[in-house]
């Protein structure tokens, strides 16, 4: 039913990694299709205000940009892979379908916030830090009027800054890890190594100007309210993140933004059968995955921020172009930036880990899986009373990870709570995004964008 559309290189994701990959590949003369879910380029890091007509980023001439498009499956074909795409308004049954055959794929699907559960985290008014950021930057709206920002890592700073920018009062930033020493001796030093001193100085100035307290070793351990957040309990944490008795404080807030690092968006890499290690896609020096013709760049390969992602994207784009027969000069500068970026990312990961004491924040009736409303007691029961120890049996017995988000939010937490030593144990999803049955059944004729086949070298 669908006509075969051919593009030498398909790049999935238009954040820092995907944009750099697109540019690098297109610069060699290869024909490139860039697929992204958003109407505008930039991804999460460079999120643009969706309410203006401006587009901040320019793509090289000839690049086919499929906006508002999601890849719901990838399958191997002779000489490459086929990407199945739906294009149109989010979750609409009226989206159009396209299949694109590509000789090389660059996966640049990014990451999303990891949220740790605590009593009351399912109340409206508890947001991920990324939600607060996306709504502020993309929609100009504050998630609350009195907001507490909590979690770990330097990302909390731009979130607080964005919240202030849209008129919210940020009552405090709580960093669950300790203030780190040496070259990471203050919260703003943490990113200085990535050439972000200026950006961080701006955040620091915002914090000082708005008298926002920054507290290390403290976390939100409970949110209170009937149908929405009205207050939170915070506590000082020991080195393992267990709350110190007697250190609890209550604050009145109408929103909480929590972020404990990031989880890579792995489903397409998993369905392409790329090798994973420690929950990330394994790549070589050319950003090639274990699957010939499939390259990965950005947070999929390890959490390292926008600068590293862009360098990886530049290398992945060049490598993909070489794979399809273009003449490519080795991107030595980008490769050097990757090496230094990875050293920095490793230091960052060591400074802001998730520590196991978060499990003590949970009570029996604390939801672990928000979609299927599975609480901690039910998850423990599945493991201890019914012997469900693998990810599949745990899902089937407890229902954790079986809901609408398909374990994206709870997967890493359920794995950790159940003693499964693989953060990606819940990342396998045959459908990378939910589709409606009418879409799967092909109720609408598949449309085809015009893409010139072949390499234009």
């Amino acid at each position: 039913m669908s006509r075969t559309v051919v593009s030498s290189i398909v790049v999935i994701g238009a954040g820092p990694a995907g944009l750099a990959a697109t540019r690098a590949a297109a610069d060699t003369g290869a024909d490139v299709t860039l697929i992204d879910a958003a109407p505008k380029l930039g991804g999460q890091y460079h999120r643009q205000d969706a309410r203006t007509g401006d587009e901040r980023f320019a793509l090289p001439a000839g690049v086919q940009h499929l906006r508002e498009s999601v890849v719901w499956a990838i399958e191997p074909i002779d000489g490459g892979h086929r990407a199945h795409v739906r294009t149109g308004p989010a979750d609409s049954p009226d989206r159009t379908g396209t299949s694109i055959d590509a000789a090389a794929l660059v996966l640049a699907t990014g990451a999303y916030d990891r949220a740790l559960p605590f009593p009351g985290w399912d109340l409206p008014g508890v947001f991920t830090a990324g939600a607060a950021q996306a709504l502020a930057k993309g929609q100009g709206v504050a998630v609350g009027s009195r907001v507490l920002v909590a979690g770990t890592g330097p990302f909390l700073l731009p979130v607080a800054s964005s919240l202030v920018g849209v008129g919210a009062e940020v009552v405090a930033i709580l960093e669950a890890n300790a203030a780190v020493r040496g070259w990471l001796s203050n919260p703003f030093g943490a990113l200085a190594g990535a050439g972000k001193a200026g950006e961080l100085a701006a955040y620091a100035a915002t914090l000082v100007r708005h008298r926002i307290p920054y507290r290390a070793r403290r976390a939100v351990i409970e949110a209170h309210g009937a149908d929405r957040v009205e207050a939170v309990t915070t506590a000082r944490l020991d080195a393992d993140w267990s709350p110190l008795p007697g250190s609890e404080k209550t604050m009145e807030v109408d929103a909480v933004a929590v972020g404990f690092g990031f989880t890579p968006q792995l489903e397409l890499a998993v369905s392409a059968r790329c090798e994973l290690r420690d929950g990330f896609v394994v790549v070589d020096a050319a950003q090639a995955t274990s699957v010939p013709g499939v390259f990965a760049a950005g947070e999929l390969t390890g959490i390292g921020g926008a600068t590293l992602s862009a360098a990886e994207g530049a290398v992945a784009g060049a490598a993909a172009a070489r794979h399809v027969g273009a003449e490519v000069r080795p991107p030595l500068q980008a490769m050097r930036r990757i090496r230094s970026g990875r050293r920095f990312a490793a230091a960052l990961g060591e400074a802001y880990p998730v520590r196991p004491g978060w499990r003590t924040w949970l009570r029996d009736d604390t939801l672990v899986c928000r979609c299927e409303e599975v609480d901690y007691a039910a998850l423990r029961g599945a493991r201890n009373d019914r012997d469900a120890t693998g990810s599949r049996s745990l899902k089937l017995v407890s229902r954790a990870g079986l809901g609408l988000c398909q374990g994206r939010v709870c997967g890493a937490n359920v794995a950790e709570l159940s003693g499964i030593d693989d953060p990606a144990a819940f990342a396998g999803r045959p459908m990378a995004v939910p589709l409606r049955l009418c879409e799967l059944a092909g109720a609408d004729p598949e449309a085809t964008p015009e893409i010139e086949p072949g390499v234009k070298v």
Partner: protein, 85 residues
């Protein structure tokens, strides 16, 4: 542009998402869960968690944080699991 939210007329502008409109209107929940009937709204804000589902023009299970509003959209609260009308 104008949209309707649970029957009431609401001003919206081009490029706003359904979640952007609802939050700006002071709402922070617009769905009830299937089992506990608990209120939910935006959680992840970037299309990952599926907590912010809402009914748009009779079609349920639309992520409010991802869907951009169109003139005269009929937006309403989603109660548990709903079938398209």
């Amino acid at each position: 542009m104008r949209v309707r939210v649970d029957g009431e007329v609401c001003e919206a502008e081009e490029g706003q998402t359904v979640a952007g409109v609802l939050l700006a209107a002071g709402r922070n929940s617009w769905r009830s869960t299937r089992r506990g009937g608990r209120p939910r709204g935006v959680f992840c804000g970037i299309g990952v968690c599926f907590d912010c589902l809402v009914v748009v023009n009779g079609v349920p299970d639309v992520r409010a944080c991802q869907r951009r509003v169109e003139p005269d959209d009929e937006i309403r609260t989603q109660h548990g699991a709903e079938l398209p009308s």
